[in-house]
Symmetry: C2
Subunit: 319 residues, 2 copies
């Protein structure tokens, strides 16, 4: 019996390094507060992101906040009152572009929110000032724009490819312009914590459709982070299935177009680096069985062996 | 035994008129698609209204549409697909004012909606054109405003106290201006079917706070419809509890202010006419236990014996 226990103990000692180092521990945790690309007001794009082991979140887009937090409470991820959690845990919003489904929750919740920054590139902040935090459509809870500016939120303008710290967190962000029905612009956010990164793309069209090279440049930029395993995953949209005609894409991706873009990415990283690499599919637009079709088309065209993840509202993701 | 059956049959014949005429049959049915005055994106103000026995609805405000229809399907009120139901059953939108919580569902659902009218007074239509159906914040699905105007919706401008038919229904509407944090305007919709009416008020402040007489004039206007029992009910907001300071009302009502207004109404109708008259409380703003406090304060101050109804999402109301 004694020798059996010794044997088990030795096995345990041998296995420890394998358990610990076979894959790196998660660096980030993400609570999807909303995941859909339209229609369902209870489940629009917003991803609460924090460094693993901390409770300082930022929201990547803010389509649905309150209802997503309620679902996170129901799922046991968070405890307490939804409004209080929004106030205390969410330290800022990163808004990719000015379309309502990416920011309606921010506007609707603003009267009961706490003071915090809104990070966005200049064109998006202009839309927020002109269209949403205006006294005709709401109240101006921000610090600039129509007077009186109530000043609860303060705008932080992000510049292309320039790092900025995310206040009250240990993360920073670098923004990259995306093309979302050219010349309309959207944004990708590269979030950094120490030497680890996650990349979130707001709505985007494919370079071939947009007649642009924003994605190619982005892939080139982040490819070294993939080959060195510093980038933990990419959130990217697939709004429509392959059946959507090119002239009706409105600046969005299909499974075919996403995989074309992934092939461009693999030109920079090599194919091996993308095997098992987490690609998180966002913003599927509900309509009949479209979401199931998108999933099927993505799986069937996944020649690169990407790890396809389909975020669900209030289901915790660790990367 | 035979005489007992005869007796029961005679009793039945005697009771028929009492059952039928003790109260008039319902004239309108309302499916609340959303009832709250903020924060919860899944449950914002929108009331689908139709003449009893028909399936031609209009939505009074449009804060939450898709999720409310999903809940109505789950409750067995409607059958089918939420998007198809929105397309086929909702014949138009009446928007009281330009604040996001009263129209975000309309904007979010517009890409998948069918062609239909949007009814509103001129200031609200200006906000829709300038802020929401703009190419910076969304796409212009309406027939006026920023070009290209896609023309799925057509604006119908409502004039003060002027009747207009509601297309594809057997109802008509008369609009009245309300004061919602003076000089910002909101709207009351008086819906008519034959000789029966229902009155829906968008957000409104009390005359005493707004330094206005919009409500007094409205009460005077509709009072003959109450005394003649043609008006089946009034939807009116109570956003805050009595604890809310006057300077923080932002153009909303409290239980105390509502009851003051009901007393003004009773000056025109007499108190007797208001006993048991249905007042449907809308737009309570969630925060802690505020909704429960509002209900309690309303019940405790209901000297007039109004029939207070608290609409719930996807719970059918008949008036």
């Amino acid at each position: 019996m004694k020798s059996f226990l010794t044997y088990r103990f030795c096995l345990f000692l041998i296995l420890i390094p394998a358990l610990v180092f076979s894959q790196s521990p998660p660096s980030f945790k993400i609570i999807p507060l909303g995941v859909k690309g339209g229609i369902d007001e209870s489940n629009l794009s917003s991803y609460a992101l924090a460094v693993e082991g901390t409770e300082e979140y930022v929201c990547l887009d803010a389509g649905t906040l309150h209802y997503g937090i309620q679902k996170a409470i129901a799922a046991g991820i968070w405890k307490g009152d939804a409004t209080e959690l929004l106030k205390s845990k969410v330290k800022g919003y990163l808004i990719s572009h000015g379309h309502l489904d990416h920011l309606s929750g921010l506007v609707t919740n603003s009267p009961d929110d706490s003071a915090k920054p809104i990070y966005a590139m200049a064109p998006c902040i202009e839309v927020l000032k002109e269209k949403y935090f205006s006294w005709k459509s709401w109240a101006n809870f921000a610090n600039e724009g129509e007077k009186p500016a109530l000043g609860k939120y303060h705008y932080v303008v992000l510049q292309q490819a320039t790092a900025l710290p995310l206040e009250q967190t240990s993360m920073s962000v670098i923004a990259f312009t995306l093309s979302h029905s050219n010349p309309y612009q959207s944004t990708a956010f590269l979030i950094r914590h120490q030497e680890e990164y996650v990349l979130y793309l707001g709505d985007t069209g494919a370079d071939e459709i947009e007649k642009a090279n924003n994605l190619r440049m982005l892939w080139q930029e982040v490819s070294p982070l993939i080959t060195t395993k510093k980038l933990k995953g990419i959130f990217i949209e697939v709004s429509f299935s392959n059946e959507q005609p090119n002239q009706s894409l409105f600046g969005h991706l299909t499974p075919r177009l996403l995989m074309n873009e992934m092939n461009v990415l693999s030109e920079f990283t090599g194919e091996e680096a993308l095997k098992g690499f987490p690609i998180l599919i966002t913003h599927m637009k509900p309509a009949g069985n479209r979401e199931a079709v998108i999933k099927k088309q993505l799986s069937e065209s996944n020649q690169l062996g990407l790890k396809l993840i389909f975020p669900e509202q209030a289901k915790l993701i660790k990367l």
